[in-house]
């Protein structure tokens, strides 16, 4: 069963700043629809009055990563797209993956070492045998 990796979305904006207009429109129109479509994501709307920092959409994931995206001077549709993109991501770092595969047990028969294909008389230690 699919478990959404996004825990909560915090919408931090100020109700009077000019660049938070898209955020305010988003809260008025599209925030309820977004919250209904994604029932396992908690949406917090926290307006800080006055001249605070730039309006930001903060996403927190189940593995602890916090991702902040600026929403200054963005329209409501763009913020909806951003929010759906963050909701579909997992919290892993967005860096180049070196290999698309990984195993914890790469060797089933035992990894090769210089004595695998040599006669076992070389390593056997017994009461009378000595390794040569």
């Amino acid at each position: 069963r699919y478990v959404r990796q996004l825990q909560r979305l915090q919408l931090l904006f100020s109700p009077t700043a000019a660049d938070a207009r898209g955020a305010r429109q988003f809260v008025e129109e599209a925030a309820q629809d977004f919250a209904r479509q994604h029932p396992d994501v908690v949406l917090y709307v926290s307006p800080h009055s006055g001249q605070g920092p730039a309006p930001v959409l903060r996403a927190e994931y189940l593995n602890g990563t916090v991702r902040e995206e600026l929403i200054a001077s963005k329209t409501s549709e763009e913020i909806v797209q951003l929010a759906t993109k963050l909701a579909n991501q997992s919290g892993l770092d967005i860096i180049r993956i070196r290999k698309p595969f990984h195993t914890d047990n790469p060797s089933v028969q035992g990894q090769w070492h210089p004595l695998t294909n040599k006669p076992s008389i070389l390593t056997v230690q017994g009461p009378r045998l000595k390794p040569q």
Partner: protein, 149 residues
């Protein structure tokens, strides 16, 4: 930003210079000498580094293939076969494993590789018998070809 007349435009200053310079210098931090600190030298070095990395993607394929071939050759020599004999006899027995997989098998699954070397050796002997002893002997078992339709 929209400006309505030239006079206003002349008065605006560039305030982003530090971050524009850092965008380039962050790719030069592991270089040697002054080109990891000084922007003028770093711009040239970073550009050349990017060009070389795009061109090297074609060489990487050749380099890795020759690495795999070296490893398969070493592993098959441990079992008494030379590389051309090993590869050609594997192909004749319809075992179409590529060199990457064969190299990984040689490292992590030595017994499987030994059995593949034995298969190639047997097919080689049957090839010799078919070529030299023409006539009444029956065809070899491992020389039979399976047709997939």
């Amino acid at each position: 930003m929209v400006v309505l007349s030239a006079a206003r435009w002349v008065r605006s200053r560039l305030t982003d210079r530090f971050w524009r310079v850092q965008e380039v210098l962050k790719y030069a931090r592991h270089f040697r000498g002054r080109k990891n600190r000084c922007f003028k030298l770093a711009v040239r070095s970073v550009r050349r580094a990017f060009v070389r990395s795009t061109k090297a993607r074609r060489e990487k394929k050749r380099f890795l293939r020759s690495l795999w071939i070296t490893r398969i050759e070493a592993a098959s020599l441990e079992h008494g076969l030379k590389y051309p004999a090993f590869i050609s006899n594997l192909l004749k027995s319809q075992v179409e494993l590529n060199r990457k997989v064969l190299a990984d098998l040689a490292i992590y699954e030595p017994k499987t590789f030994k059995s593949l070397a034995a298969l190639a050796q047997r097919r080689r002997q049957e090839g010799f018998l078919a070529a030299l002893g023409d006539g009444k002997e029956p065809e070899g078992i491992f020389s039979r070809i399976v047709h997939h339709h």
